[in-house]
Amino acid sequence: MSTVQTSMPVRAAAAGEPSLWSRLRTSRNWAALWFMLPAAAFLILFLAYPLGLGIWMSFTDERIGREGVFIGLENYQWLWDDAIFWLSVFNTILYTLVASIIKFAIGLYLALLLNRHMPFKAMIRSIVLIPFIVPTVLSAIAFWWIYDAQFSIISWSLIKLGLIEHNINFLGDSNWARGSVIFANVWRGVPFVAITLLAGLQTVSPSLYEAATLDGATNWQRFRYITYPLLTPIIAVVMTFSVLFTFTDFQLIWALTRGGPVNATHLMATLSYQRGIISGRLGEGAAIATAMIPFLLAAIAISWFGMQRRKWQQGSNND
């Protein structure tokens, strides 16, 4: 029975103090470090470094073609008094808030619907994903046509139905433009929310619903007391991502309105691009982009602490 030992040959070989090399060779942490290194290098090079550079740039007066010098918080002081910057902050928050709430509501509704047994379920589920897989710019161009001042299909239909008399200036009027870009964003974002929540719904054991039914729960009570609490971890994750994506949205706005009319749809991301790249004032653009960070951190913090509170997910698992 002396050959049974399999997990201890290293320790057995070096009877006294094992050498550094043999300790490293058997250390799981050391191995893990090496496995993580490629991904970490990638992230540092393409994410952390540009981020750091961007933050540094926001403290300089760098322009395209000209090395900047450190000017402290001057860019931020400048932005503090800039009404357009504050308008873009307001727009971004409005855009994120409204779009996220609508995306959550429609996404949850769709997920609940798709979770039922119905004919052509698989097909309907894949159709729901279409807005998600179409390239953003492509769908933005489609929306651009849908919202066109002269050729809008919506205006045309409503006129033909006799509901309105003149074309709606979807992207030319401030409030219409805001509504239009939010609608386009919702259209794109719903599938992500719906499919992720659907995946979450499918992890809920059907016997919980049966137990709740026998306990006397109505449909609404089953949702309120079973589905919703069990779904909260997924909701927290999916809504965090949704908020982050929406807050940093650029493509859709840039393709549809370029921030217009009269900056009514300028988000922080588009304003940053306009100031930094188009106008060439890299330092100021970087400052606008950097100003987004606290908002994003706050969004993450909210979802993080929201998840922390769920004690039922923790504790020992005896399965």
């Binding site: 919980l208 709740a212 039914t213 026998l214 006397g216 007391y225 504790g315 005896n318």
Partner: protein
Amino acid sequence: MASVQISDVRKSFGGFEVLHGVTVPIEDGAFVVLVGPSGCGKSTLLRMLAGLENITSGTISIGNRVVNNVQPKERDIAMVFQNYALYPHMTVAQNMGFSLKLRNANQQDIAARVKKAAEILALSPLLERFPRQLSGGQRQRVAMGRAIVRDPQVFLFDEPLSNLDAKLRVAMRTEIKELHQRLKTTTVYVTHDQIEAMTMADKIVVMHDGIVEQMGSPLELYDKPDNQFVAGFIGSPAMNFLNGHLKSNGQIYVETENGARLPVATAPTASDGLPVVYGIRPEHLELASDGIEAEVVVVEPTGSETQIVSRIGTQDIIAVFRERHDVKPGERIHLRPRASAAHLFDKDTGHRL
């Protein structure tokens, strides 16, 4: 408490009928076990009783009220699920009080009833824990607690012990039976394990392929199985079946294909030469020099008894002895069935003769 009447109940999924007219009367306060192999329809029947499945035809009444079209929550039943179906985000107390909360019972009332149920099931120290923090047996008890709190007319158990390890299963078996003796609530219990059925039931309903094969008290089923299926299903190790022909002019016995003569106490009249299946339980075989010769294949000691698998011609036969015989595989032994304990079944229909 209430009696339950299941009358000619049928169930089809699509065009496929899985229950072909099942009638089971359940007396008030009885502990009835539905037992049968997988796919026999026992769980479906229980779920129909609970209201989780529609009844295709026939009627189910609980306490003289036909419940075919009554919502599950109006049926006044409580069910314990195989996977317990505890709400993972609620504490033990919340799990147990959930149904009362939905009924808008007041807080003190809920707390009092949860406390009482927890005392019955020895769950009091665990009330503030979440299901994740409980062992399998504790979860099982919480699931029962959830049922008890409601004080329903009928308890339904759907294979509640199959997720537990063997030792815990035996302990919980006793606990459930004790609970029933204490509360005396009508109970319908589904299992595929005939030992559970035998040990717990007042009445066993053996189901197979969507029909009731036999119902009766555990010992009735054991001593007088109506047919070959019940005979083979109830009892462990299972009853031995040997094919042969009945000889009943003068001396009565069953002659197997290879000429062995199996003793029978009585035989139906005018049945000479009838092809039959001869059933004998393993414990009704004894070693005797005038018995049938068999070759030992495997010897399985369990400590309290010894099972000997041997072969008569081409047919395997299991014998159980409480005494410790010193036999080895390959040896020849002589087995004598106890004539009074032999069962005869019609070879074609499987019915008891």
